[in-house]
């Protein structure tokens, strides 16, 4: 079980993550959505013990009840792959171009499980078959450039599964893949999570993929988790203005928005851009871009409100509605 309590990450005066609290239990499938720079990758790196050296962390992270504040790099190395593993956005960049993919997958098997070369190869073969790589024996000997994007991502999933982790973090696993392949990879991750009772942290800005892959969702903006809840409920009736904006900006294949003259209208967008980490407003991070902003939004931090069962959001407007 992974437990984050008020975890913050600072780079000098800049805040990358502000008091994030999360609990991940076996078999949970949690989606994290948000724009670039919203802190979702930083959250993932913290769970891997791989936050950049320049970052200062505060708050607590416990893994199976163990406080990781004092954990050394060596402690983390022992946890990675076995307790928590990660797959990455760019399947090409995440594989060493000079290593046969089989060797890459066998590395953690031999290191963590102490398997012999033959045993590691047999296990790698099983893993390749499990993640749906055809002709796994031949693939083991190939180099990354000989595989397609989808195949490479499957290799990386096999690498992440090698030591049977409790939590698999998928950092934008489908962003670099075309839509059809992305769907299949998403389904594969869901299947693996269910079969192995493995928690899945699915980070993406692809709302369709997140909806398909996860049961719960956390929406991040400017280093804050602004809204949490069951995926379906949050996507059907978003509470936080940012979530609403994010969903409104989603292009739809079936109903193209038209303006009054029947011309194709522009896709609605959230006005403005994400400010730099150092220029974020002190109160609600979304202040300045929010369509329903109140005067005190930029200066005061909003409190947690409960817009529905199992749901939470931080927003002044919502807390006003609740108290009214």
């Amino acid at each position: 079980m992974f437990d984050l309590t008020n975890l913050s990450v600072h780079f000098g005066p800049a805040t990358a993550l502000r008091e994030a609290s999360l609990t991940i239990r076996p078999g949970d499938r949690l989606g994290i959505v948000g724009e670039s720079g919203s802190g979702k990758s930083m959250l993932a790196l913290c769970l891997m013990g791989m936050a950049p050296e320049a970052a200062t962390l505060s708050g607590t992270l416990t893994i199976d009840g163990r406080d990781m504040a004092e954990a050394t790099e060596r402690d983390w190395q022992a946890l990675r792959a076995r307790r928590v593993a990660m797959i990455f956005q760019e399947p090409m960049a995440a594989l060493n171009p000079l290593s046969r993919v089989g060797d890459t997958v066998m590395d953690p098997l031999r290191l963590h499980l102490g398997l012999s070369k033959q045993a590691a190869r047999a296990r790698a073969l099983d893993l390749f078959a499990e993640v749906g790589i055809p002709d796994p024996a031949a693939r083991l000997r190939q180099f990354p450039h000989e595989l397609s994007g989808g195949q490479r991502q499957r290799v990386l999933i096999a690498l992440a599964l090698a030591c049977d982790p409790d939590l698999l973090i998928a950092d934008e696993p489908t962003t670099a893949l075309d839509a059809n392949v992305a769907l299949r990879i998403t389904d594969l991750l869901v299947r693996l999570s269910a079969e192995r009772n493995m928690a899945l942290l699915f980070i993406s800005h692809d709302l369709a993929a997140v909806a398909r892959a996860t049961s719960d969702i956390a929406v991040m903006y400017g280093g804050d988790i602004v809204e949490r809840g069951p995926t379906r409920a949050v996507l059907d009736s978003p509470a936080h203005p940012y979530t609403r904006g994010l969903l409104g900006a989603r292009p739809s294949a079936t109903s193209l928005p038209r303006d009054a003259n029947g011309k194709r209208a522009r896709l609605p967008t959230i006005p403005g851009t994400v400010p730099g980490m150092a220029e974020l407003p002190k109160g609600c991070r979304f202040a300045g871009r929010c369509p329903v902003e109140l005067p005190h939004c930029a200066s005061e931090r909003p409190a947690l409100t409960k817009p529905g069962p199992d749901r939470s959001a931080i927003c002044h407007v919502l807390s006003q509605e609740v108290s009214a």
Partner: protein, 272 residues
């Protein structure tokens, strides 16, 4: 097929010539390079002595070939030793970072502050003139060069996503350095080794010229040069031949190294 750069082709041809002569000398030379014939000294080029004979009547071609072998062996040993130690230090500095990296690189900077050749001469002079000491001295001046190249290239590779992926798989920094960093910095290391080979040949010739390298009767271009120096007005060709050999070898490896760099580093080609 992309056309290979001209410097690579010329360099490769010159290197083949020198290595070919050195390799051939292992099994065959026109004469034994130590055979003296005082009556036939300063002989002109002839059918038996293609480039003539020296002040002791020894065959010049045989001496040049045997010296090539000597020169290649010294340069190879020195680049291998210095290159291995330097690359290992560079990898270590890059893997650990922080004050270790700073320390290694500042020591390398100190190494760079000394003119390489003078430093080698100093070392050879301190530890006594012998071929082994010459090899060690040349190895030593190679260490900072390779440390710097390895560390700079390794730092680039450490930022790659596949290194992050390997870290995420729980690999130690040592394992990552060995399995992922080293193979990916091989190209710049090999390029540097080729260029340093030229430097090592020059250094060996210089040390031998000063009597700090190969000891008689071991043949060496540098020593042939110094022996011919006193006879410059009598038989200038005896100085010109080993001089040309040194130029050929140094130019060959230098061009080959530059050519390899052009081929392996596409950024440099575009700048031309």
């Amino acid at each position: 097929m992309k056309r290979l750069p001209v410097n690579l082709l010329i360099g490769a041809a010159l290197v083949m010539l020198v290595i070919g002569a050195a390799a051939l000398s292992l099994i065959w030379t026109p004469h034994d390079y130590t055979d003296m014939n005082i009556r036939g000294k300063f002989g002109p080029p002839s059918e038996t002595h293609w480039l003539g004979t020296d002040q002791l009547g020894r065959d010049v071609v045989s001496q040049l070939m045997a010296a090539a072998r000597n020169s290649m062996a010294v340069a190879l040993a020195a680049v291998l030793i210095g290159g291995s130690i330097g690359t290992a230090l560079g990898l270590l500095a890059s893997a650990i970072g922080g004050w270790v990296e700073d320390l290694v690189m500042r020591i390398a900077d100190i190494g760079f502050a000394f003119p390489a050749l003078l430093f080698a001469i100093m070392l050879a002079a301190v530890f006594g003139p012998s071929l082994t000491n010459a090899i060690l001295a040349i190895s030593f001046i190679n260490i900072p060069v390779f440390a710097r190249v390895a560390r700079a290239s390794a730092n680039q590779i450490w930022t790659r996503e596949y290194v992050t992926a390997a870290q995420a798989a729980g690999l130690t920094r040592a394992a990552i350095s060995r399995d992922h960093i080293l193979p990916n910095i091989a190209a710049p290391i090999i390029v540097q080794a080729t260029i340093e080979f030229a430097v090592a040949i020059l250094a060996e010739a210089a040390l031998s010229y000063l009597g700090l390298g190969a000891q008689p009767p071991a043949p060496s271009w540098g020593r042939m040069l110094s022996e011919a120096q006193t006879l410059m007005y009598l038989a200038p060709q005896l100085a010109i031949y080993p001089g040309l050999c040194i130029v050929t070898a140094v130019l060959g490896f230098g061009l080959l190294g530059d050519g390899l760099r052009d081929v392996t580093d596409p950024r440099l080609v575009r700048e031309r």
